[in-house]
Symmetry: C2
Subunit: 492 residues, 2 copies
């Protein structure tokens, strides 16, 4: 691909002018995608195995053209894409793409550095430290989380990795005190609403899964973890000779955006010498707004705090932000120092090497996109972004409240509305009714919502958060829900 | 950012035409970067803390323009970038950016889906399965690794994650047989040349670090693991009541591209019921060439195989490819099934949910870039790409061999040359001499190489692999090495 073929039309592995020409075409392809995004079914309607029927069963020996590939993207790939960026996407939680985030991804892919150590691109490490401090200030996180002290922030891929690395740091910290043999006695705590990534982290870390306490919640606390329940569990475990060492509290649970009472939980954790992690993966984005920052009250008691800029803060996936108060605990668990990575700056402890704050060695230049998002929108832009979605969710909540056939089942705090269709007199299986409504609505391709189960009840989740979503999309989604409900109820 | 500001010049969170306009500007910025890439010092010459002096200490409240940001990238970020894509980059191992890989990154960032389960974008899962099968065929991996049987391939972020997930699968598999209490007795094996990510994986998995055997190698085997040494270690451990369960062999070690003898090691592992992982993170790319495929002989005995398309196969970082023979072992260790992620396709076991093959929950649409690389270059293009670098390394090896002051210290197999400056009569510290040569060469900014230590000797590594590297860059690098050597030797 090099040398003599340079002047021919064959695509070189890298060449500035060929890159320019082809990338301009890709920009137009992607801009056209966004222009026509509402024309696709939000939830892909293909059947399992659809793609192997459309693609050859081995790679081509010789190059094909970009036009050929883009044609295949249009005809074969796009039908299998679920359009997370569609304004009619209300499923799970959002995963924001934005113009600034996309530009940051481009620039990061352009440099294509692998920033494991400071020396591999000092700007990648230093910009990450700086923008994490910027966001810590915007969220009014306590100063202990800033890089200027013993703590600091780091970009992880996902909240799963964030909770894993702090769990490992906490595990190794307590084992340094009580001895390695105590691993089977360690106990973690979280509510039964906590994200499944905590249990996965416990499995990975070799903890006894029986001692990963999933503490029961119910409607009486709006599915928040009760400090009394936590305190009793800890006392019981200590009495049994076990060793409580980790608590994960959530601000904005996945099922219903429940908010665990951080101040009370944090006080208990502190007294009992338990690492206190706060997972605000989704709701953290709203906390750039002063009027939502009180939901983080109590975070000053936490040892670590996580939010996903890639969910709802206009930063393309992946970009999960983790702050810790004691970075040395992370580094003690995750550092390696092979000869081939040694360099003066690292050996002299003059710099941060983020490889020692995370699971992988290599890392992309992800701070670029977060930096570009913060600069191209400004904090006011980010505040308006989340406020707008929260307002649209409140609007949807009102719509649901006006139709007596439906019920909002938990108080709405952020941009998620949990609701269900109520049973008419002639049906008993309300869960099946709502499951059927979900399937019926999603099969239209005009809207995509998902579900959860709370206290045994099948609940519909309507999560506003796609950047292109406007009131008309919320109205259209609600119309479809009403129509499908009418059809279902009529057929009973 | 929505609604009333739509018609103004303010950047919206997303808008097809604003995206088009801004992304075209970014394309030109990046193409210009590649056009001028040789004008920058390859290794950034900034001092620790340089960036905080250049940037404000908090995020702006109001939006700034792309021009302003790009100006800062040029003036403040670029000096802190180490240019992995420079043709004068010969450090570590390469991290290829390519036109096709870059286009794939753009498209993936454009869709910005989070493909944890099949339903979240069936195309993302199915294309991944298909292209991993394509590459398995191109590498002539045994059929057991194809998705059509009990095995299959998956894209991990890095080789660190690949070795971690198979270590966890192997750990849990053996513990299901011998009981969970046996965790402290488990033993892993690898040579002392094995990548540091294995030890990190052991730490993460809660294994006893003392029982992570780092078996000694030396020049007599060109730093490959001796089957006898492995076999004796296993026997000794079994006799001590320990439980051998995991072997990591490497094809192309990080220090010197040593190749462990897969057939012999694999046979021992099989007899002893030890999970056999093959790490070909770097050298796997060369094995798309028929003339290098024999280096994978014996991989049919392996339980898992890993190579990094993001190193040397023109696929932008990150894209680490892992194949396993028994996908159920991975899934048993890594699956979670919370209510909010349930869907018909997953519950019916009709599809692959790659979330259960990896550490994180969320995942980017990374198969797009690998697919585009394979299609836009074809297998012949990829073969020529690696052959070209291997030829340039052989050429460099010849240059070194012609200068009696230098010595090639291990046989060159792929595109890495390990060499050192020999001591003149009047110096004893050859290691310091070579360290000084390394610093002297890298401080020119005209070339970037790194080092390793083999048998206590400080060795210089010259790794060819950047897509833009041509013979003239190798010549220039060698000239600098010679000049700096002359200066150093003259000053003794």
């Amino acid at each position: 691909m090099e040398g003599e073929q340079q002047s021919s039309g064959i695509l070189r592995s890298m060449d500035a002018e060929q890159l320019r020409e082809h990338a301009h075409k890709m920009v137009d392809f992607i801009a056209d995608y966004y222009k026509t995004i509402e024309s696709f079914p939000v939830l892909s309607q293909v059947q399992p195995g659809y793609l192997e029927k459309l693609l050859p069963d081995s790679a081509p020996d010789y190059p094909e053209t970009l036009e050929h590939v883009l044609n295949d993207v249009q005809e074969k790939i796009l039908p299998g894409v679920t359009h997370w960026q569609s304004p009619n996407y209300f499923a799970y939680f959002p995963s924001n793409s934005s113009i600034a985030g996309f530009l940051g991804e481009m620039l990061s892919a352009g440099f294509n550095i692998v920033g494991f150590s400071w020396i591999t691109s000092p700007a990648a490490t230093e910009l990450e430290t700086i923008v994490l401090d910027w966001l810590a200030k915007a969220l009014k996180l306590p100063h202990d989380f800033h890089s200027t002290g013993q703590g600091g922030g780091v970009i992880q891929g996902t909240a799963s990795e964030a909770v894993l690395v702090v769990l490992l740091a906490a595990r190794d910290k307590i084992l340094r005190t009580v001895g390695k043999g105590a691993l089977p006695k360690l106990v973690t705590y979280a509510s039964d609403q906590t994200h499944s990534s905590l249990l996965k982290a416990c499995q990975i870390g070799g903890l006894n899964p029986e001692f990963c306490r999933s503490l029961k919640t119910d409607a009486s606390t709006n599915y928040a973890l009760s400090p009394e329940v936590f305190s009793e569990a800890v006392s019981r475990d200590i009495a049994s000779g076990l060793i409580p060492f980790f608590l994960c509290a959530t601000v904005g649970t996945t099922s219903s955006t429940a908010i665990d009472p951080l101040p009370e939980l944090g006080k208990i954790a502190k007294v009992k010498n338990i690492w206190f992690h706060v997972d605000a993966a989704y709701a953290g984005s709203a906390c750039v707004c002063p009027e939502y920052q009180h939901h983080l009250n109590g975070v000053d008691e936490a040892d670590s705090f996580n939010m996903n800029a890639h969910k709802w803060l206009l930063t393309n996936f992946d970009c999960s932000l983790l702050w810790v108060k004691d970075r040395s605990a992370l580094i003690q668990s995750l550092s390696t120092n092979p000869e081939y990575l040694k360099n003066k700056a690292s050996q002299g402890n003059m710099v941060i090497d983020y490889k020692d704050w995370q699971i992988p060695l290599g890392r992309r230049f992800r701070s670029l996109k977060l930096w570009m998002v913060m600069r191209l929108y400004g904090l006011e832009g980010l505040r308006n972004h989340t406020r707008n979605h929260i307002n649209l969710a409140a609007y949807f909540e009102d719509l649901v409240g006006q139709d007596p056939r439906f019920k909002v089942v938990t108080p709405r705090t952020f941009s998620l509305v949990c609701f269900r269709l109520l049973p008419p007199a002639n049906t008993e299986d309300t869960n099946k009714l709502n499951r059927d409504l979900l399937d019926s609505v999603n099969s239209t391709g005009s809207v995509f919502i998902t579900h959860t189960v709370l206290s045994g009840q099948f609940i519909l989740r309507f999560a506003v958060g796609a950047p292109l979503t406007e009131q008309r999309h919320v109205d259209a989604a609600w119309r479809i829900l009403q129509e499908k409900a009418t059809a279902l109820l009529g057929s009973l």
